[in-house]
């Protein structure tokens, strides 16, 4: 058996239609001018665009029909998120989808029935996982005590400014658990926003101390660990999807400039010093895309197996590297313009830095891949 293992890649007609629609939608709704308009707004996204995405069914695309979704699974969400990444379109879609997956995979039927239909129809939600900068740290300092009272804070909570529901990783009774916190339960001043390197994104620190939880709003038991493991992988996968789209757009931006900018009497794209690394961007993006849609082929609503874990981690590692390279070279190849805020290269190099750390960097994933592949 080869170490390459599972190498299936399938793409249904349904997925193709979704990709087509999503690409067109994101291109129309999110030209660079629209992206720039959102850079310093509080929410970071256009609520009208988000509402349209909800009405297209994308908020619930990955959720079972029983909970108001389309029942198409994560594999149908990947082309949407890739298209968003391509247009640098920020919305709470990924945060909401991941929070929903956590409830779907970890929660009981009552919780799923109560919460998921709302998320499928556009109520925003997010995960609150990290307490420090280390994605590999499994210690949990947020506690829900025997009385159901929460204490502790979370960092780097995506889309905290808009989320109506927070799925918070906590410890309860000595074991990992998930607290379901509604926005109105947060104390005044509980949210303090981060300034992010990627200005199309929003995240914050949140202090959950003092919140009282009903029993029904706590997810406990063995499902928590598997749900958490799965959602961390799905987070990596969706981040990879976004990064792959952004890398493709970054490449287009570079190619366009290389085809129009003249120096020393020649179009600069004719110089091999620029042409060859640009081809490297293409091949790195192509690899990322192949790994991405392989992963999209094999993830399901079931607990993710070893093949799916390998696929998600590889997709994230490769997409990160592809975008880091593309963003870095995009700035350099634009010369003096590249060093300005006005040049679009800044959007991609900033996106690259954000993508890199989100759900674990390349080393984080390769370290785990080594154990999966070599031991």
């Amino acid at each position: 058996m080869s170490v390459l293992g599972n190498t299936t890649l399938k793409f249904s007609e349904e997925q193709a239609m979704i990709l087509d629609t999503a690409r067109e939608f994101c291109r129309d709704k999110s030209p660079v001018s629209a992206v720039r308009e959102q850079l310093d707004t509080e929410l970071g996204y256009d609520t009208g665009t988000w509402d349209e995405m909800v009405s297209l069914g994308w908020a619930g695309i990955a959720l079972p029909e029983a909970y108001g979704g389309s029942g198409l699974g994560i594999s149908a969400l990947v082309p949407v998120v890739e298209s968003m990444g391509r247009a640098l379109l920020s919305t709470p879609l990924v945060s909401t989808a991941l929070a929903a997956q956590m409830i779907l995979r970890g929660g009981n039927t009552e919780q799923a029935e109560r919460l998921l239909p709302d998320l499928a129809s556009g109520t925003t939600a997010t995960l609150a996982l990290l307490e420090n900068a280390d994605w590999g740290d499994t210690r949990i300092g947020c506690i829900v005590d025997a009385n159901g009272t929460l204490s502790g804070s979370k960092k780097y909570v995506m889309d905290a400014g808009t989320a109506q529901l927070f799925v918070v990783l906590v410890e309860h009774d000595g074991a990992p658990a998930l607290a379901l916190v509604r926005r109105e339960q947060l104390a005044d001043g509980a949210i303090s926003s981060h300034t992010l390197i990627d200005q199309t994104k929003r995240a914050a620190n949140i202090d959950f101390s003092g919140i009282s939880l009903a029993d029904a709003d706590l997810i406990c038991g063995e499902t928590v660990a598997t749900a958490l493991g799965d959602v961390l992988l799905l987070g990596a996968l969706l981040t990879a999807a976004e990064a792959t789209g952004s890398a493709a757009a970054c490449l287009d931006t570079v190619v366009e400039y290389l085809k129009t900018r003249k120096q020393f009497g020649r179009l600069i794209g004719s110089y091999q010093a620029l042409k060859h690394p640009t081809v490297e961007m293409l091949t790195a993006m192509d690899s990322a895309r192949s790994l991405l849609y392989h992963a999209a082929t094999i993830v399901t609503d079931e607990t993710l197996g070893k093949d799916a874990e390998i696929a998600c981690r590889m997709a994230k590692a490769q997409a990160t590297e592809a975008l880091l390279f593309a963003g870095d070279r995009a700035v350099q190849f634009h010369g003096g313009m590249g060093f300005t805020y006005e040049c679009d290269a800044q959007l991609y190099i900033r996106r690259a830095q954000w993508v890199q750390q989100q759900f674990g960097d390349s080393l984080h994933h390769r370290k785990r891949l080594a154990a999966l592949l070599l031991d």
């Binding site: 390459l4 004719s270 790994l291 080393l363 390769r366 080594a370």
Partner: protein
């Protein structure tokens, strides 16, 4: 005439059993990893015997017409036979220029006389074929070939030099691209295509020693070499068209090859398999976290190559830059192979400095030789640098 899954399954089992029973024992000398590396009579005779045996058993040329030595069955049988050859790691089919390029060209476009004369000898390995395309001054620029062929009665007189002629010193025939008219407006229109004999007066094939220290190809000198006029394929001036068709077979873009695998695939599994034997800092090498990270990078790369082949077949996932995957495939695969093999040597500690011929060289110097040989693919068939220009210009639309 449709073949059932059951028939194919039975056939696979039958070939598999045959390969298992007939796989030659280790001959005690190094066998070539590709058809480009046949460098000694000893290797040649061994491989000739092996190919003949596979053909006689009916596992080569299966889809070629029966009357010319083929099997006359559907191509899918040959595909299965080839897969089983690879799976059982049997020696390569060395006569690939005949089996894969010249042969299908003759099957598809040759005259009856040409088919009768050449095809059976290609399959049985009696007749070895070589290719005379590249010239010393015209490597990548094939259309500029300058070797001259001048009609003189019933013969053409050939003068000039070809280079990188794989098995030029062993071949009985050459597919030869030569200039019959130096005065055409377009350089391509002056070229003609010949099925030329090699063992005649006026042709000298001088073996070239390779980077690896081995031999495998020649510089081939034509000095007033006279070949029969009926060796021309098609008409005068059709050489470029026929050469392009030949390249389609060579690059696998056109089906029709007689089958057989022509090179040993070296994959990441081969690399990982040997690592159990090494240590680093007194600990098993495979426990070293830096080594592990490098290995995982290579595994990701090889997996992405494999998945790229699949994605290339999914239309909606190739709309960005159509053909970027197939057109960059040679570049990506050969550059990966080169780096992977180089890395393999770096893991061998002091033993990495040993070479083929040293009793203690790991795996007989397999990786050292494989690394050096990998340049035949990053240079041959268009260097990686030229390939990168092609991808940049044709796929991304960057200016020349």
């Amino acid at each position: 005439m449709s073949v059932t899954e059951k028939e194919l399954g039975e056939f696979r089992a039958q070939v598999s059993a045959w390969m298992k029973d007939n796989k030659p024992a280790d001959p005690g000398f190094l066998l070539p990893q590709s058809f480009m590396e046949v460098g000694s009579e000893q290797q040649l005779e061994f491989l000739r015997e092996w190919q003949h045996k596979m053909w006689a058993a009916g596992y080569l040329g299966m889809a070629w017409p029966r009357e010319y030595g083929g099997g006359g069955v559907e191509p899918v049988f040959q595909t299965i036979a080839d897969q089983e050859m690879r799976r059982h790691l049997v020696p390569i089919c060395f006569n690939i220029i005949g089996l894969g390029w010249a042969g299908p060209l003759i099957v598809d476009t040759g005259t009856e006389q040409e088919k009768v004369r050449y095809l059976k000898g290609i399959l049985s390995a009696e007749d070895i074929w070589c290719q005379g395309f590249s010239e010393p001054d015209n490597g990548s620029d094939l259309g500029n070939a300058q070797i001259r062929a001048v009609r003189d009665g019933d013969e053409y007189v050939i003068n000039g030099t070809k280079i990188w002629t794989t098995m030029g010193n062993y071949a009985k025939y050459m597919i030869l691209l030569a200039r019959t008219n130096p005065n055409t407006e377009r350089k391509y229109d002056g070229l003609s295509f010949f099925l030329s004999p090699m063992k005649i007066e006026g042709i000298e094939a001088r073996p070239i020693q390779k980077l690896t220290g081995e031999y495998g190809f020649t510089e081939t000198f034509f000095t007033d070499a006279r070949i029969p006029a009926d060796c021309i394929m098609g008409e005068e001036g059709e050489g470029w068209k026929i050469a392009m068709k030949t390249l389609q077979y060579e690059r696998g873009a056109e089906a029709g090859a007689a089958g057989g695998h022509s090179f040993v695939r070296v994959v990441i599994d081969d690399l990982i398999e040997q690592l159990g034997a090494y240590s680093r800092d007194g600990e098993p090498l495979l426990q070293d976290s830096l080594v592990r990270d490098q290995l995982v990078k290579l595994i990701i790369e090889e997996k992405a190559l494999s998945l790229g082949d699949r994605r290339a077949g999914v239309g909606p996932l190739t709309t960005d830059y159509p053909f970027s995957l197939p057109l960059s495939s040679k570049l990506r695969i050969t550059e990966y192979a080169r780096r992977m093999r180089q890395f393999a040597i770096s893991l061998q500690g002091a033993a990495g400095g040993l070479y083929v011929g040293d009793d203690e060289a790991p795996q007989g110097g397999f990786w050292q030789r494989a690394y050096f040989n990998s340049f035949s693919a990053t240079i041959g068939g268009g260097t990686s640098q030229v390939q990168t220009n092609i991808v940049g210009e044709h796929i991304l639309g960057l200016p020349k």
